[in-house]
């Protein structure tokens, strides 16, 4: 089940084109702190990947490298076959195709829910207002809050805000969605409503990479679970084997800590 990284000489740009995301020998440092160590990862189109690991293990940094919110210093990252480099044009193309949902929602407080959703389609995709509004309403219905369209984010609960954030990402019709601990900042009773939306999305064929500790979610929708510790990918496996038969000591320790309470 474990995907072996290809050997270095075989790596060509065309091979990266078949994957949604390809990371090869990626390293990143914050000053002297080595936060990502030799990351190799291929994500198939339509695959759902769940990344977990103790805090400070570099999992958020890893997915933030995929849309260049963080810069990697060594190695190569291809998204939809396009290499992430200093070329701002490529970065903008990739960001258009990659949506991101944040732990703290990051909705724009001065805009209504509807305006939050239509902003990127109008200004990045140059979509006419009426069309953008129609698409936004469609996705707000999908996340089950069309009636909140004219409210401001500050008037909504955390779970509602996170669902708006998901709808906002979807309005750009991204090919890849990144989730950075989408339920960690929510009250327990609101986690379910957000996970329900994510599970429904997973059934629709979009490529998803989720940093989350929701193990139930990982089991339901994950094609692959990746365990990170100290900036390294320690273990990757399908969810069933990952949870029932972890190979690595650190994985076992981590699972015993999050499952035994």
């Amino acid at each position: 089940m474990t995907q072996k990284p290809e050997s270095a000489n075989e790596k060509t740009k065309s091979a990266a084109g078949n994957y949604a995301v390809t990371m090869r020998d990626v390293h990143k440092w914050y000053g002297k702190f080595h936060v990502l160590k030799n990351i190799n990862l291929n994500v198939e189109v339509g695959e759902k990947i769940v990344i977990c690991g103790p805090s400070g293990s570099g999992k958020s940094t890893l997915i933030r490298c995929i849309n260049r919110l963080e810069e990697h210093q060594q190695g190569e990252i291809f998204v939809e076959g396009i290499e992430l480099s200093h070329d701002i044009k490529n970065i903008e193309i990739i960001r258009r195709e990659v949506g991101m949902v944040f732990q703290h929602f990051n909705l724009f407080p001065h805009l209504t829910v509807l305006e939050n959703c239509t902003l990127a389609p109008i200004w990045v995709r140059k979509m006419p207002l009426a069309e953008a509004n129609a698409i936004a309403m469609e996705y707000l219905e999908r996340v089950k809050i069309p009636e909140q369209a004219d409210k401001y984010p500050g008037q909504l609960s955390g779970g509602q805000q996170q669902r708006v954030a998901i709808a906002r990402s979807l309005c750009m019709k991204p090919r890849i969605l990144l989730f950075d601990e989408p339920t960690s900042a929510l009250d327990p009773e609101m986690i379910k409503e957000v996970l329900d939306v994510m599970i429904q999305l997973a059934s629709e064929g979009i490529t998803m990479i989720c940093v989350t500790h929701e193990m139930g979610f990982a089991r339901t929708v994950g094609d692959r679970v990746i365990f990170m510790d100290n900036g390294e990918i320690i273990e990757e496996n399908n969810p069933d084997d990952f949870f029932l038969n972890p190979q690595h000591e650190r994985t076992k320790l981590f699972l015993s800590q999050i499952l035994n309470h």
């Binding site: 919110l69 991101m100 944040f102 990051n106 724009f108 001065h110 902003l119 500050g154 008037q155």
Partner: protein, 314 residues
Amino acid sequence: MDWLFLDAAFTGGSRDECSAKAGGACWAVIGERLNLFTYGFYPVAERWRVNLSLVLLIFTLFPILFEKAPYRKYALHIAVAFPFVTAWLLVGGLGLTPVETDQFGGFMLTLVIGITGIGFSLPIGILLALGRQSKLPAIQIFSIGFIEFIRGVPLITLLFVASTMLNYFLPPGVTFDLLLRVLIMVTLFASAYMAEVIRGGLQAIPKGQFEAADSMGLHYWSAMRLIVLPQAIKISIPGIVNTFIGLYKDTTLVIIIGLLDPLGIGRASLADTRWTGLSTEVYLFVAIFFFISCFGMARYSQHLEKKLETDHKR
């Protein structure tokens, strides 16, 4: 109160005539000098141009300040032409009799300097604030240098520089209108303060807002215009209006380089032997004018803050 109104004399040809009539304030001086206070030495035959400019100003400001003004969209586009039309009206040329800017004076001069400063210092201040946070070293160094230099020098010094020093640097024979120089200096001075006020607002914006904008693929300028600046400026409104009010009152400093603002006109009036000793009336009148303008700005800022409140803290 008695002194102000009941015992006051409102007509008369000199101080002596006033005190013969009543024991209170002698407002006759204001009445007689009202045109001087308003227009300075602007030629009497051309004063309609000043009045027309004021009407244009009101018609321009109204749609800018109030969202519910009729035809606001079109009015905002037309507003761009306002500075040029007004400059043409006031200075003349192109079919109008030219008026030298040293004939400007009184409240009209205050408004010209104040509104020019307010109108231009906000955009320049925003650019400087963004420049100060820029990742491009050249822009950052220029912004920091500019802000710190201007803030480190008193406005009066800059005005003296404007009135005398610039002549040394310009090639001989090139004249550069004194009022224009003052306008530039006052605007630059206010811009430096504005930049720091807005930088405070920018720093209050959570990093997540920038990240959300970036992750959508918005360009730097779109992200700033649509997401960061609307929030930063909203936070900065009290500071921005504070700077506006400070700038507006600082226009009285131009008296030092010989421009006759209302205070200058007031002093000139008091120098007239018929009106000596009426300084209370004259300065009170000027103070009331400034208070009304500044209080108006302060009230509008409160109105704006309320209107932009979207937090709905629960």
